[in-house]
């Protein structure tokens, strides 16, 4: 894994050498800025349904091991 990551980085790090000062970064290409919607209440998912797929559901939540052990 280490050798493979090194090999990949060796190739892709080449872009560090490009002179791109003054170029704006792009994080997103859709021609959209803030997309707003009316703040209207709507139904939430049922708690039981959301807990169905959990590895360990307990009463009304997801149970996880204690960090103290």
């Amino acid at each position: 894994m280490t050798a493979e990551l090194g090999d990949i980085l060796e190739h892709i790090e080449a872009i560090q050498a490009l002179d791109l000062d003054g170029v704006e970064p792009t994080s997103h290409v859709a021609p959209l800025e803030n997309v707003l919607r009316p703040d209207e209440p709507r139904e939430s998912w049922e708690r039981e349904r959301m807990l169905e797929g959990a590895p360990d559901a307990s009463h009304e939540g997801f149970r996880v091991p204690s960090p103290g052990r």
Partner: protein
């Protein structure tokens, strides 16, 4: 009867249903039996019975293969990852719901590279997929199961997703049509996220007409995906037979040394066909596109590293560990993710880490800006950009698994369009050594209608015969 059915395209099958000559139940059962007994590894789950089809629905009840990346309520959905094995989502992806509503009920879930990370389908947590043209070879990826299923006649049509080429490259390697839409054209709601600024759903079909029909029912703004947009204009049935007056650009510096001679030959014959049909072919420059691969393999892993943080053994999927919290996190992710997914999470967190953020992630975002500008400038001069879809034909299973960077090179021609968010269509251009070679057509944002029309004309002139793969 069933052999005859297999020779129908999806649009033809829908036409027969509308004419009252074919029952949707018979059509579904024919494909269901094929999908349930296939031995390519293309399906991870197959429906047990035909769902009720809405009478008169435009897509006629023609069954649809769905990549395992799409959530479907109550149906196993794992993105081909062991970490989500047995997961049954509480809701259905918008595009799957829209297509079912339009009369394309789900036939089954198709195999893929885990979390859509790969170009050969060998990264699936549930085994590879064989290419129906040659079972010793890969179908491409990440939508390899969808592509193989359509090519082999296990499904009339399919949907997949494309982040850096994951619809187009397997379509190319399996000799079928694949469309990566404009970013935002199709809702991403219910698609398990890989790289959110790049992921798009699209059709994988036997021909261009089927792709247009399916795509036309996938588009539209969805309140559940705030990056989705209404598709401007109409999407009709593609009908062009000529290409008169259409300007085609071949990027001079995006040809690379790595293109196989047989692929280059098919590509050049496609260019000659375009000219015979009246199209004008000229060379163009995309000066930064050859850095697309580097930018992509920083940006996509960076986004993936954030998106995949949710798989931690708490809310869904599997849990490992020795009963303490830290080992739950570590062992769940250690046991559940495959090597390529781990590699990309590490690449992504590295690119986002303090000290490398500007030099790697920031630089890649700037390369993305330059590539989008390159395309905008090119589209002032030409209408369509044409390249090979993949530098090679389908490679042998195992050939590139030990060399991840060689695998990444499969995406050389497809990532620039993904970074720019523009649509691109791959269609078969011919065979090289008995294996399919795809030609990629790209256009400005929301030019899918024109790309499909151009594809239609080219497809008719090329006359590609995919029946060999349907056995």
């Amino acid at each position: 009867m069933s052999a005859d059915l297999l020779e129908l395209t999806a649009a033809q099958a829908a036409g027969r249903v509308h004419a009252g000559e074919l029952s949707p139940a018979e059509l579904f059962e024919t494909y269901r039996e094929r999908a349930a007994s296939e031995d390519l590894g293309a399906f991870l789950w197959v429906a047990e019975e035909a769902p009720e089809t809405l009478a008169g629905a435009p897509l006629g009840g023609v069954p649809l293969a769905v990549k395992d990346l799409f959530c479907v309520e109550g149906v196993p959905t794992a993105a081909a990852s062991r970490i989500l094995e047995g997961h049954r989502p509480a809701y259905t992806a918008t595009s799957v719901a829209k297509l079912a509503q339009a009369g394309a009920p789900m036939l089954g879930k198709t195999n893929m590279d885990e979390f859509a990370m790969g170009s050969s389908n060998e990264n699936s947590g549930f085994g590879p997929v064989k290419n129906p043209w040659d079972r010793e070879r890969v179908p491409g990826g990440s939508s390899g199961g969808s592509a193989a299923a359509v090519a082999a006649g296990l499904a009339p049509w399919a949907i997949g997703t494309d982040t850096g080429g994951s619809i187009r490259q397997p379509a190319s390697l399996c000799g079928i049509v694949g469309l990566k839409p404009t970013y935002g054209a199709v809702s991403r709601y219910g698609m398990i996220a890989f790289a959110s600024s790049l992921d798009q759903a699209g059709p994988l079909t036997r021909d261009v007409t089927d792709a247009a029909l399916l795509f036309g029912h996938m588009v539209g703004r969805d309140p559940c995906d705030s990056t989705s947009l209404d598709f401007p204009g109409e999407l009709g049935e593609p009908s062009a037979e000529r290409l008169d007056g259409i300007r085609f650009g071949v990027p001079a510096n995006l040809t690379g040394d790595g293109v196989e001679p047989g692929v280059q030959q098919v590509f050049e014959s496609a260019l000659a066909t375009i000219e015979e049909l009246g199209g004008e072919v000229q060379q163009i420059e995309l000066p930064n596109a050859n850095h697309g691969l580097s930018a992509y393999y920083l940006l996509a892993p960076a986004e993936a590293s954030a998106n995949l943080a949710r798989y931690d053994g708490v809310r869904f999927g599997m849990r490992s560990g020795n009963g303490d919290l830290l080992s739950m996190y570590e062992d769940t992710r250690g046991d559940g993710f495959g090597d390529e997914v781990k590699r990309r999470i590490m690449l992504g967190t590295y690119a986002l880490s303090s000290g490398y953020y500007d030099a790697l992630y920031g630089k890649a975002q700037r390369v993305r800006t330059k590539i989008a500008e390159d395309f905008r400038e090119a589209f002032d001069r030409v209408d369509v950009i044409v390249t090979p879809t993949s530098p090679s034909v389908a490679f042998r299973l195992g050939e590139r698994t030990g060399d991840p960077y060689a695998m990444y090179l499969s995406d050389y021609f497809t990532v620039p369009m993904s970074l720019a968010g523009i649509p691109a269509l791959s269609l078969p251009g011919g065979l090289s050594e008995g294996l399919p070679v795809g030609v990629q057509l790209a256009g400005p944002a929301f030019s899918e209608g024109r790309l499909l029309d151009v594809g239609h004309a080219l497809e008719h002139a090329v006359g590609f015969d995919g029946s060999a793969a349907r056995g």
